[in-house]
Every structure is written in structure tokens, then in C-alpha cells.
């Protein structure tokens, strides 16, 4: 039964154990395919421990450029004895499996193509030193796959050279291992599955990068001066990448730093330092995840009420509580929008691509300083830690916008100022920085009730007026924040999503069109509070499906609260959370189930 070849449109899943060095092998495979001009994406599914527990890495090749997770696995590489049985059992007929010979699956489902290779022996041949063999064994499967899938061996070798550029010995060993795998496969396997990689011309000039690195690069070009952080998965790599970039690109000629990095004692202190620094005029940021956001609640309210610029990256993981620290979610939308007691509202930025992680990396500072308020950038583990192809980053489109700050000269001219006066009708007052050498520069910042001059006040009217101005300020911000992106218009059915859901939605829309003839328009929101275009989108559609990677439909909730009540009946929540990156099929199924409801 010879099947028609399936070219550049399948998913490979590699099952290994955490800490076994498979990360490099998978990256090499991904890069080799990328270098062949094939649209690819990689998703790492790893456990919340350091070594020994199962890990899965999925690489998707997609001729049409889809980069969301694909729910079905086409080719399994089974290297982990602990999971081989269930991994194989989960395959559908038509799939293939390449397994480490000792792991022969007991009762594989019917219809699988199976290949076995003795990877230990291959590694032994390639690597004379016994104690290093464990490290290169995983590179053998890369070579074997190259043969199986017709991945160009030269690209594999180029990718290995790049991966181990700083370690010549490791490079040689890995090259040998890959070749051993390739030769081993050629020598003993007979190709029976239909999956093939073939050179294309995508990816020209593109990068492979994860969202956290992109965000770090963005912050670098945002002129960040203070980073205060506390490690937490999946945000640590954002801070660590930034520390790397700062050390490389932000030292003065005398070796002194034009930035300060504070590893804080916890998240309360991290945001405290960011707010203190923002108050004193620095571009200050932190990066954290759910538990850290909860701990930052009190300071977030102070930042809102005392109107201090601050940038907080929340690389979301699965909650509630500690939840699943190494799985992805969009679970903090609602609680962050209203983070802190009392009538607090926070600005959310919602990047959906790694390019946007870069752009919001710098733009968040402009927005925080212009609006004088904390700005939360809600990324997620899928976006932040997985590898994505991306267009080269664009240099900021103008000088840094540092908001309304009065210096000595302005004060000389004005004689004085009132910190919280709505002088310009946009809800944003003028501020001065501590240290400004002018006798009228000082004001007294506080989290208690205050009048326009920032003097303490319990006066009911003063309080009400100030709170109304804060509300106006964020309302006016709607059109200042990154605008939603529309694809359409013209259809009756709308889809609304944010963040990393984007990639599943793009594919889902094609599925709906191609499989059901259902045309949809699509609005991707990139900030909250929402721009007027969001309301207009709902107005223009009979029904709007809102895609959420959480249990409770949090984006739908924010939308519901923002819309004129008359439009709310058009909103339909499609919420899904199981910790895996969202795939198109799930969205399509959920949507069609609602469409087909009587």
C-alpha cells in the first residue's frame, strides 16, 4: 500500500527525558528544516522539574505556513522508555514511529509504520568516549530523521555547527553522531511512510526566536534602565536574555553600566523597586508569571493610583495557584485587568507574535511614561518559550516618548505646577522627577487620597473627581494603545482573539472556509482597555466568537464588560484550557459546535 507523499505538512514529535540534552538535537532539527525554507515551528512540552521526567518536542512543517500546534502527531520519535507505550498508543493509523530499538512497543495500534534503530550502538560508534555518549545519542535521531524525511544533511550539519559554535569538540561529536544516525538509517531502514521534507523558499531573511528573547531585545531598545526581577518559569528567560543583552550592549566605554539589574528577594520587592525607579524617572520593568502577579497586587494598585510608570511582563502559565508551571495559558487576563482592591484598572498589552514581543518590549515604556501608569504585557509560555520564525525586528519608529515631565527650566517659566491637575484635558498630569533642582519641583506622592497638588485630602468631592479623572485617563488611552488588527471585513461571523491564540485562529478560519464554507472576519485585540474598533467589530457582525486559552472565558468577560449592553448578546465564548498551546482543530470544533446548536 504505497501512499501519496505528504510533503512539508506533518508534525514530528520527539519523546525524551528532561535534562537528556534533547533540547539541542531538537533545535538542530528545527533549524535544518528552517534553513531549507520550510515554514516550521517547534513546541516544547516539558515537565516542572530539572531532569529525568518526560519531555516532548513537536516540530511542525507546514507548507501553508501554519505555526500553531497541530493536534495530531504524524511521526513519533520514541526515545523515552517511560512514555513509549502511551506515546505510541496515542498515534492514529497512518502515523509512523521511529523508536530506540530496546523500546519496541508491545502492542502498537494497527496502521502504523514502525522503524527501529539501535541508538546506543550508533552513538557508541560515533563517540569513542563512553561518558559522552549519553549526550550525543539524541543527535543520532536527528541524522536518522534526515534520512527518513529527506532533510538535507548539509543543513543538519550547518545547524550543528551553529548550535555548537563555541564548543568545537561538542560540534565534532555531534556531527559524527548525526552522520552515524543518517548512515544507520540508510543502512537498515526501508522508507514506508509518506512524509517528506522538501526545500521551499519561505523563511528568507527570517529569524528563529522565542518571545522572551524578542521581548528582551525590545526592552533593550526601549532604553530600559532598571530591571528588578525574581525568577519564575516561564518568565526567567526573558530577564536572563535581557541581562545578557544589557551586558553586551549597554556598558559605557569605561565598563560602567548604564542600567541596573536587581535580583529582588521576591515579587513584591521587584515591583516595589520598579515603581520606586519609575517614580524617580527610570524606565523600569520586571518580568514574572501568575504567582508573581498575585504578589504584586498591592503595588499594582499603588502604581495605578499614584500614577507611576512601570512595565510588567506576565509570561502566563497555567493557574490557579502554582498550577502547571511549564504549561501555557491566558489565565491572568481578568485578574490583571482589575489587579488590586478598590476601583483599580490596569493597562494590558497583548502581543500575539514574537515580532510584537519585540515591539511591545520598547513601546511599553513609551506607553507607561505617556500614561503614567503601570503597563502589563501579557505574553504566555507558548509565545515566550517556544521557538518561532519571525521577520527581522524593526527599529523603533521614533525617539523615546517620555511623557509629561517638567524640568528646572519649565518650572522657572511656570513658577510651579500641580501634579494631578488635568492641565491638558487628557487626564494625565505633569510630573517632576526627584532631584530636580528647583524649589517648586517637589510634590508628595502617596497612595492615600490626594488633591490636584498631591496634598492629603479626605474631601469626598476631591476624591470623586480624582477617581473620575483616572477613569477618563484610561478611557482616553484606548486609542493610544496598539490598535486591534482586522482581517475581513464582510462576513457575518466574527472571531475575536488575543495573544498566541492568533496562530490557531488563522488556521481555524481556513478550516471553516474550506471544510464548511463558513466565512469569518477576525479581530485580534492587542490591548485593554479596548479601542472603539472592538465595539465596531461586534456591531458589524451577527455573532462574535471570542477565543480564550483559559477556563472561564476571560477575554470574553472583558469584552462583555466593555461593550454597550445591547451588543453583549452577540458575544459567544470559546474557552479552552488544558495547558497545551492552542491548536486550530480545537477552535474549529468548539466554534462549529456552537454554530450547529439549535
Amino acid at each position: 500500500m504505497q501512499r501519496a507523499p505528504i510533503v512539508n505538512d506533518f508534525a514530528i514529535r520527539v519523546a525524551t527525558a528532561n535534562g537528556s540534552g534533547s533540547q539541542s538535537s531538537n533545535t538542530v532539527l528545527l533549524r535544518a528544516l528552517f534553513q531549507m525554507g520550510i515554514p516550521v515551528s517547534g513546541k516544547n512540552l516539558f515537565p516542572s522539574n530539572i531532569a529525568g521526567l518526560p519531555t516532548w518536542y513537536t516540530i511542525r512543517l507546514s507548507r501553508r505556513g501554519y505555526v500553531a500546534r497541530k493536534r495530531e502527531v504524524d511521526l513519533l520519535v520514541a526515545m523515552n522508555p517511560a512514555t513509549v507505550a502511551e506515546d505510541v498508543a496515542a498515534l492514529r493509523p497512518g502515523a509512523a514511529v521511529l523508536y530506540d530499538a530496546p523500546l519496541r512497543p508491545a502492542a502498537p495500534p494497527a496502521g502504523l509504520t514502525t522503524y527501529a534503530l539501535p541508538f546506543d550502538a550508533l552513538a557508541a560508534a560515533a563517540c569513542p568516549e563512553a561518558r559522552l555518549r549519553k549526550l550525543v545519542k539524541n543527535m543520532c535521531y536527528v541524522g536518522a530523521l534526515a534520512w527518513l524525511l529527506a532533510v538535507e544533511l548539509e543543513e543538519v550539519e550547518r545547524a550543528i555547527a551553529r548550535q555548537f559554535s563555541a564548543k568545537p569538540k561538542a560540534r565534532e561529536l555531534n556531527l559524527a553522531a548525526a552522520r552515524a544516525g543518517f548512515e544507520g538509517a540508510r543502512a537498515s531502514l526501508v522508507k514506508e511512510d509518506p512524509f517528506r521534507a522538501e526545500r521551499m523558499d519561505a523563511n528568507l531573511g527570517e529569524l528563529i526566536v522565542d518571545g522572551n528573547t524578542a521581548a528582551a531585545a525590545g526592552a533593550l531598545f526601549g532604553g530600559v534602565t532598571v530591571l528588578a526581577w525574581y525568577p519564575i518559569t516561564p518568565s526567567s528567560s526573558l530577564a536572563e536574555a535581557l541581562i545578557g543583552y544589557l551586558g553586551e550592549h549597554r556598558l559605557a566605554p569605561d565598563g560602567k553600566a548604564t542600567y541596573a539589574v536587581m535580583q529582588a528577594e521576591d515579587e513584591l520587592a521587584a515591583l516595589g523597586a520598579v515603581i520606586g525607579a519609575g517614580w524617580a524617572g527610570a524606565r523600569a520593568m520586571t518580568a514574572t508569571s501568575g504567582p508573581g502577579i498575585s504578589l504584586m497586587s498591592e503595588f499594582a494598585g499603588l502604581g495605578y493610583f499614584a500614577e507611576i510608570p512601570a512595565v510588567i511582563w506576565d509570561v502566563q502559565r497555567v493557574g490557579p495557584s502554582t498550577g502547571l508551571p511549564t504549561r501555557t495559558a491566558q489565565g491572568d487576563l481578568l485578574s490583571t485587568a482589575f489587579l488590586s482592591h478598590g476601583d483599580t484598572r490596569q493597562v494590558l498589552l497583548l502581543p500575539g507574535t514574537v515580532e510584537e514581543c519585540f515591539e511591545l518590549g520598547w513601546r511599553a515604556f513609551d506607553l507607561a511614561e505617556e500614561l503614567q501608569t503601570p503597563v502589563f504585557v501579557l505574553s504566555d509560555l507558548d509565545l515566550g518559550m517556544n521557538n518561532w520564525t519571525a521577520a527581522p525586528f524593526t527599529y523603533p519608529d521614533g525617539p523615546m516618548r517620555r511623557g509629561k515631565v517638567l524640568g528646572k527650566e519649565e518650572l522657572d517659566r511656570l513658577g510651579g505646577f500641580a501634579r494631578y491637575r488635568d492641565a491638558d484635558g487628557d487626564g494625565v498630569g505633569w510630573r517632576t522627577l526627584p532631584g530636580t533642582p528647583h524649589p517648586a519641583a517637589a510634590y508628595f506622592t502617596r497612595g492615600t487620597g490626594h488633591d490636584e497638588t498631591s496634598a492629603y485630602s479626605e474631601d469626598p468631592e476631591v476624591f470623586e473627581r480624582n477617581l473620575a479623572r483616572l477613569s477618563r485617563k484610561l478611557d482616553r488611552a484606548r486609542e493610544l494603545l496598539p490598535a486591534p488588527l482586522l482581517e475581513g471585513p464582510g462576513a457575518k461571523v466574527g472571531i475575536l482573539a488575543c495573544g498566541s491564540s492568533h496562530h490557531a485562529v488563522v488556521e481555524c478560519r481556513d478550516q471553516l472556509r474550506e471544510e464548511r464554507g463558513l466565512e469569518t472576519d477576525y479581530l485580534r485585540v492587542r490591548a485593554w482597555p479596548f479601542a472603539a474598533a472592538v465595539r465596531e467589530f461586534v456591531e458589524a457582525h451577527e455573532r462574535v466568537y471570542v477565543v480564550d486559552q483559559n477556563r472561564d472565558g476571560q477575554l470574553a468577560a472583558l469584552l462583555t464588560l466593555d461593550l454597550p449592553p445591547g451588543l453583549v448578546p452577540r458575544v459567544r465564548s470559546l474557552a479552552h484550557l488544558d495547558g497545551l498551546p492552542l491548536d486550530a482543530r480545537t477552535v474549529t470544533e468548539l466554534l462549529l459546535a456552537r454554530e450547529d446548536q439549535p
Partner: protein, 339 residues
């Protein structure tokens, strides 16, 4: 009206708003001493950043140095705010004001880590053994066995903030009393001139909730139990005054900025540069209920957090764009690395 100081300002230029604290509250006296000290040192009030937590004590920055910026932040979280502010602008003279509840109860974690970093800051704890603003519950510095007005007795041991700070490696640690003008003034001036963290635990009676019999933080208690280690003097860097003492009766500690702290010994063998002895002395009270005051420990040259981080000399907050936003070629390089 007082004479102009070194930079031509009078004491009036250092005043703040009218206090809304209770009449007689120790915190008011400390505010006065802070005004004196900054005036005496001839520091531009605009250089000072006042930071505080929440409590009666933490309100007090509104009542001094009206020409200085201030941030009255969150309960127990002044240290992190201050750290951020100092990192943003290292030229600020950070003046942190806190209470015993604010520091020893809710804020002890941030206090520990601030001290560990040796952030340049004067950190004053206005210590009355109670939560004044919430009506007089015991704080964590209340002594075992001390009594509230309601008769409630504190069963727990106090946290000795000075001993704790020294244990943690603090580089300037003193204890004083709001009622001891002379000692407190000199100590404040020296602490402000210190280059790292200066922790001052200033006993500051709460006349409304903790100034009765049975309290160990009352005016009466301090009158009987204040045990000064030294007679303090301070000679600012700009003054060139020689102070003479009979040999062996005094110590002089030169601070990093050239100013000098003079300590006329009242307790013979105490040397505030000896960390182990200081700890020892604090652990073993000479007499029941004694409150040891004076400069307990000082290490004038220890590296600060700014040294640790190797910051440029200019304030980070106002570095020009070209120094904080790398050029297009750098972006090109970064992008290249990711290709």
C-alpha cells in the same frame, strides 16, 4: 529666623507642613532633628528623596523638608521603593522613614534584604513598640512583658533591629531616643554622611497608646533606662575643626565623605568598629531593661549596592537617549545572531 547655612538656606527652607500627629508624639521631635541635621549639613533639600511606609511615623515626612520629593508608599515596603529610586538616580540622598510595625513586622523581609545590599540610604525607624495608627497593638519590637493600656501583656520576645542589622552586615547602626536632641542630631548627621545603609532605631514614644506605666517605650522608661555608649559629636567634611580629647577617652571615625564622627567613650571598651563585640554587648544587657544608645556599629568604607552594580556616575533616569537606546547596527547584529 535662623542664620543661613553653607548654601545660603535658612531652617525655614527645610520645614514641612504642619504635623497632624498627636501633640507630644516622639515622631514630631525626630522630624525636628531631621530638619536640623539636613540644614546643618547644608544639603540642598531638592537632593533629598523622602521615602516611607505606612503608619504615624511614615506620615511624618510630610512634616519636614517640604522642598524634597517624597513617596509615602505601602506598609512595610519602603525599602524596595527606595532601592528603585536610588538605582534610578544615585545622586538622590535617600531618607527612609519607617515605624517599628512597618519595619519589624510586615516589613522585616525587605529590611533584611536592603541591609544586605548596603543601599545608600538613611533608614530611620521611629520605634514606639506599637502600631500607633491602628490604635496601639503591639509591634514586633515590643519588649516581653510590656503592657498595653488595656492591660494586655506582650508574651513574645522583641526583635532588636540594631542587633539584627549588625548580624546581617549593616555598615552603620545606631540607636537613639527622640528626646535626646544632642545625640540624635549628631547621629543623624553622621548617618546622612555615611555612604551605605545607615540604620537608626530611634525610640519615639507614642503618647496616646504607649506612654503609660508598664510600657518600656515611654518617656519615663527612657528617662530611667537610656544607657548611652558614647557622647557623640560630628564634624562635617566642609568644617575644618580639630577636636581634642584626652588620649583613650575618645574615638574618631572618619566617614567616606571626609566628615568625622567623634565618640567620647562612656563605656570603656566599646569600639563601634568591632562587629563581634557589638553583637556581644547587645546580647548581654548590663542591667535589666537598659536601652543601649549611641553608634553601635560603623564600617565607613564598605562597598555599597551602587559599587556592586558598577553603575555609571550619572543618574540612570536621565541618561540621554543615545546612551540607553543602542543604534541600528546593534539591532542588526542581534537580528543576525538569530538568523
Amino acid at each position: 529666623m535662623s542664620a543661613p547655612n553653607r548654601i545660603g538656606l535658612t531652617v525655614l527652607d527645610y520645614r514641612g507642613g504642619k504635623s497632624t500627629l498627636c501633640a507630644g508624639c516622639g515622631h514630631n521631635a525626630i522630624s525636628e532633628r531631621i530638619i536640623d541635621a539636613v540644614y546643618e549639613l547644608g544639603i540642598e533639600p531638592e537632593r533629598v528623596a523622602k521615602l516611607s511606609g505606612i503608619g504615624c511615623s511614615s506620615k511624618s515626612p510630610a512634616y519636614f523638608l517640604g522642598r524634597s520629593h517624597a513617596f509615602n508608599g505601602l506598609h512595610g515596603r519602603m525599602p524596595s521603593l527606595a532601592t528603585g529610586a536610588v538605582l534610578a538616580n544615585r545622586r538622590l540622598l535617600a531618607l527612609g522613614v519607617s515605624g517599628d510595625g512597618d519595619t519589624a513586622s510586615i516589613g522585616i523581609g525587605q529590611f533584611v534584604h536592603l541591609v544586605r545590599r548596603n543601599l545608600p540610604i538613611l533608614y530611620v525607624v521611629e520605634d514606639n513598640g506599637v502600631y500607633g495608627l491602628t490604635k496601639g497593638q503591639f509591634s514586633a519590637t515590643a519588649d516581653t512583658g510590656s503592657r498595653l493600656k488595656t492591660g494586655a501583656v506582650n508574651p513574645l520576645p522583641p526583635i532588636d533591629l540594631c542587633a539584627l542589622a549588625i548580624q546581617l552586615g549593616a555598615t552603620f547602626v545606631g540607636r537613639s531616643f527622640s528626646g535626646d536632641k544632642r545625640q540624635l542630631s549628631a547621629m543623624l548627621q553622621a548617618a546622612i554622611s555615611h555612604r551605605g545603609t545607615a540604620v537608626l532605631d530611634v525610640i519615639s514614644p507614642c503618647v496616646t497608646f504607649n506612654d503609660h506605666e508598664g510600657s518600656t517605650k515611654s518617656y519615663a522608661w527612657m528617662k530611667d533606662h537610656d544607657q548611652p555608649l558614647q557622647e557623640l559629636g560630628f564634624v562635617p567634611a566642609y568644617a575644618d575643626i580639630a577636636v581634642e580629647y584626652p588620649p583613650g577617652t575618645a574615638l574618631e571615625v572618619k566617614l567616606h565623605d571626609g566628615s568625622r564622627l567623634t565618640l567620647r567613650k562612656l563605656e570603656e571598651d566599646y569600639d563601634p568598629r568591632d562587629r563581634a563585640r557589638a553583637m556581644q554587648r547587645l546580647l548581654v544587657p548590663a542591667k535589666a531593661g537598659e536601652v543601649l544608645t549611641g553608634v553601635l556599629y560603623v564600617d565607613p568604607e564598605a562597598p555599597t549596592y551602587l559599587d556592586t552594580l558598577g553603575l555609571v556616575e550619572e543618574p540612570l533616569a536621565t541618561l540621554p537617549e543615545e546612551r540607553v537606546r543602542p543604534g541600528r547596527e546593534v539591532l542588526g547584529r542581534i537580528v543576525g545572531e538569530l538568523r
